[in-house]
Symmetry: C2
Subunit: 288 residues, 2 copies
């Protein structure tokens, strides 16, 4: 199965889950039994990530490592980022590299090679501010390699109103123009299920906006951050999906991987397992 | 001298130059006398960068390594990126890390630490699409550390029209709204010279837009890409500067570091030296 959207949908159906787990490592929240044995922060993070992946792999669709939390350890952290993605892919998970890169086309080609071609990632996140020509090198490689893209459309933070909600002359908001143009650019990457491999990032904290974006991008898959720790609840998410329960994957990081708040606590594994099962139940209860 | 804008202006005056050289390594264009001795692509790039820095250090204000070209070599490339910046700083150059990062505030904090705090970079580039709250962690660290930010306002690529030129209800373009809000956010970082350490990326290919942005951000320093290989000429750049010749640094990469087109050619060093001197002369001729 070559098309990313088709692969993602097959995985969603097989696992009966739309959950993506954010692998956002914070050293002070990693269980002491891991940090005490590790020789470096990056090694502790990799061991923690592998443990999480082993716990969640049968119950979730995807993992989304957030590059910033790895890059802070410079070269060693970047190695850990790619090693984490390698392991997740080996364990049958879809891997979304959350890198939010953007640049002019000649430079975007280098980013596309780095994170799509020479990379275990199945998909990456990108920022659209530079325009459609800056996305083309990513779209081209996704087409060639059967990989995917999630373009920022409406992000989960309060400040997303500043520019994404800017009111245009034709009474639309900027994010609607972005949704339309990104939706058009993604049409050529539609798979057998009808969905495009060019998806959109739409924050869980903005259900009304998501409804508008769904109209403009009916066959794009939404990657939805902001669930759990950022405040969004399952009941808010109905309109992110199409009828039949397809069209979105919901990301949670802190509320899953740090479900057991005290790093020294026993049974942190059980807490993660439990948090994932509850999140699946909550979301499936709303969309099916 | 703690304020980044003050440091930059002092360097511009002392060196009588507004030139920034883009360190965008392309292995196939690096002289064979360097690649033949190197044990890895990253080593070849670092040696080439050091040679360039030695040649240009007395004649230019800054260097701007483009992260994408280093990240493509994963961990080793990231080490080379930081080693290049270390060397440039030791040689008295202002260092702009061209990373164009963007994320919600809690994640942006990690990027800010990585590229401003635990980093030899004097300044970095960032993408404003997520809004002002996503820029605040960067602005805060710039204030604390005396470092600087260049926020994408109007980029040099043709596709920048797609969203940056979107016409707003009040008849302004989106980039004008971005210029205004970023200018406001930067006011608290003004130094003794009156300029803010929060600058703007404004492409050399859009002089009319630059004139409008200069009105909205009178005391912001522009980082101007697109000179040389992307087509802009010195005569186009007058309105990027304030009277007195301050307010912008002009970046060129390919036209300087690959001034001698054949990688095997002798005297590539002379070609780089000559290209920098010509660029200084061209730009100083227009602004002074």
């Amino acid at each position: 199965m070559h098309n990313f959207a088709d692969r993602l949908i097959e995985t969603i159906r097989r696992k009966k889950s739309c959950v993506c787990v954010g692998l956002d490592p914070r050293l002070d929240l990693i269980p002491a039994e891991i940090t005490s044995k590790a020789s470096s922060p990056s090694q502790a993070i990799l061991e923690f990530n592998k443990a999480i992946i082993d716990i969640i792999k049968d119950d979730v669709v995807a993992v989304k490592p957030q590059s910033a939390f790895y890059e802070q350890y410079h070269a060693e952290g970047v190695k850990c980022f790619f090693d984490t993605m390698d392991y997740a892919r080996q364990q049958g998970l879809i891997v979304v590299a959350d890198v939010k890169r953007s640049d002019i086309a000649s430079t975007a080609e280098a980013y596309a090679r780095t994170f799509l071609k020479d990379s275990p990632a199945d998909a990456i996140t990108v920022n659209p501010y530079l325009g459609i020509d800056s996305l083309e090198p990513f779209i081209k490689l996704c087409d060639e390699l059967g990989k995917g893209l999630f373009v920022l459309v409406k992000t989960s933070n309060p400040g997303s109103k500043d520019f994404q909600d800017a009111l245009l002359k034709d009474n639309r908001k900027l994010y609607e123009l972005v949704a339309e143009k990104v939706g058009d650019a993604g049409k050529k990457l539609r798979g057998k299920e009808g969905y495009s491999s060019v998806g959109a990032v739409v924050g869980a904290t903005f259900p009304a906006e998501a409804k508008a974006i769904r109209q403009l991008m009916p066959k794009s898959i939404f990657l939805v951050p902001g669930y759990g720790a950022q405040g969004a609840k399952a009941a808010d998410l109905k309109d992110y999906f199409n009828k039949g329960g397809l069209g979105a994957i919901i990301n949670a990081a802190r509320s899953i991987i740090y479900a057991y708040k005290e790093p020294n606590a026993q049974q942190w594994q059980d807490a993660i397992k439990q948090a994932v099962k509850e999140m699946n139940k909550e979301i499936n209860g709303v969309i099916r």
